[in-house]
C-alpha cells in the first residue's frame, strides 16, 4: 500500500515484469522479406495477457520499391488470417529540404470498419540512404471485453524528398483477442531494418 496525501493505492506488478518497465520480447531483422509477423506463442514471442501494452519499434526500415507504404494488419486466429476490422485516422506533417511544408489530415488512408491494412506511411523512398523509423503501440490486445487501440508515429524519407511524419490512431474493432500482427509493404519487400516488440504492464 502506498499513500500520496489522502490517497491510498495498492497495486502489484506481475511477477513476469515486477518493475513495470519495457521488456524486449523479440527483435526481427528483415532481409528481402515479403512480410514480418509477430505471432503469439512460439519462438519467444508473446502477444497475449502477459503484458497490458505492446510497443513495436521500427528501426531504419529500408524498402525495395520506391514510393510504397508500410502497413499492418492484425489476426485473431494465430496468424492464419490477417483481417481484423479496424477504424482509424491518419495525419501527416512534412517538410522538404527546401522548406516547403505540409500539415494535413489525410482521409485517404482512414479506415472505417475495414478488414484491409492500416497504412502507416505515405510513399517512402527506397534510395540507398532512405529509410523509415518509428513506433506503434497496441493496447491490451488480449482483452475480450474492449476493442484494441493502436497509436503510431512513423517518420520516413518520402520518395519526393520530404521529411515525412505520420500520426495514426485507431482501434481493432473486435472483442476477440488479437494474437498476431503482420507488417508488409504495399508493393515489394522490406529489404532491411529491424522491428522490435516490447511489452509493458
Amino acid at each position: 500500500m502506498s499513500t500520496y496525501g489522502n490517497l491510498k493505492y495498492d497495486f502489484t506488478f506481475p511477477a513476469s515484469n515486477p518493475s513495470g518497465s519495457l521488456v524486449l520480447i523479440k527483435s526481427i531483422t528483415a532481409s528481402a522479406s515479403a512480410s514480418v509477423s509477430f505471432v503469439n506463442g512460439s519462438n519467444g514471442v508473446v502477444l497475449d495477457d502477459t503484458y497490458k501494452a505492446y510497443k513495436f519499434v521500427f528501426k531504419n526500415i529500408h524498402i525495395s520499391n520506391d514510393s510504397t507504404r508500410l502497413q499492418f494488419n492484425g489476426s485473431t486466429d494465430g496468424g492464419s488470417n490477417y483481417n481484423v476490422t479496424k477504424t482509424g485516422t491518419f495525419f501527416i506533417s512534412a517538410q522538404t529540404e527546401g522548406g516547403s511544408t505540409i500539415f494535413q489530415y489525410q482521409g485517404t488512408y482512414d479506415l472505417a470498419q475495414s478488414t484491409g491494412v492500416q497504412v502507416l506511411c505515405q510513399d517512402q523512398g527506397n534510395g540507398n540512404d532512405e529509410s523509415g523509423s518509428g513506433e506503434m503501440w497496441l493496447y491490451n490486445p488480449s482483452s475480450t471485453t474492449y476493442v484494441k487501440h493502436y497509436t503510431v508515429l512513423y517518420h520516413h524519407y518520402h520518395a519526393a524528398n520530404y521529411a515525412w511524419s505520420n500520426l495514426i490512431a485507431g482501434y481493432c474493432n473486435t472483442t476477440s483477442a488479437v494474437d498476431a500482427i503482420q507488417f508488409n509493404m504495399s508493393s515489394g519487400n522490406i529489404d532491411d531494418g529491424t522491428i522490435s516488440l516490447y511489452g509493458i504492464n
Binding site: 523479440k26 528481402a32 522479406s33 509477423s37 494535413q104 508493393s187
Partner: protein, 97 residues
C-alpha cells in the same frame, strides 16, 4: 523469384496460394499508380493554396500576380493522363504577397 515471409524471425517461403494473393495485391497497387500520383499532386497543391488563402479574403484585394499563381495551382491537374506527366509537373513560383 519466390517470396519469403518472416514469422517470429523464421524465414518461410510463401505458399502458392500466398504468392497468388500477393501477386494480386501487387497488381492492384500497380493499377492504382495514376490515381495515387494525382492524389499526391492534389495534396501538395492544396497545401500551397492554403498557404495563400488568407490573401483571398473578402477584405483584401488580391494582386494580379497572386491571382494568376493561385489559378495556376487550381489548374495544375488539368490534362494529365499518365504517371510520368504527373511526376513532371513543376509548381509555379509563389509571387510576393
Amino acid at each position: 523469384m519466390p517470396r519469403y515471409k518472416l514469422v517470429n524471425g523464421i524465414s518461410i517461403q510463401l505458399t502458392a496460394e500466398e504468392e497468388a494473393l500477393r501477386d494480386a495485391e501487387e497488381q492492384a497497387w500497380a493499377d492504382g499508380a495514376f490515381d495515387r500520383a494525382m492524389a499526391d499532386l492534389r495534396q501538395r497543391r492544396n497545401s500551397l493554396l492554403s498557404q495563400t488563402d488568407y490573401l483571398a479574403l473578402s477584405d483584401n484585394t488580391l494582386s494580379s500576380d497572386m491571382s494568376t499563381y493561385r489559378q495556376s495551382l487550381r489548374d495544375i491537374t488539368s490534362g494529365l493522363t499518365t504517371v510520368e506527366e504527373v511526376n513532371a509537373v513543376v509548381f509555379p513560383e509563389k509571387p510576393e504577397a
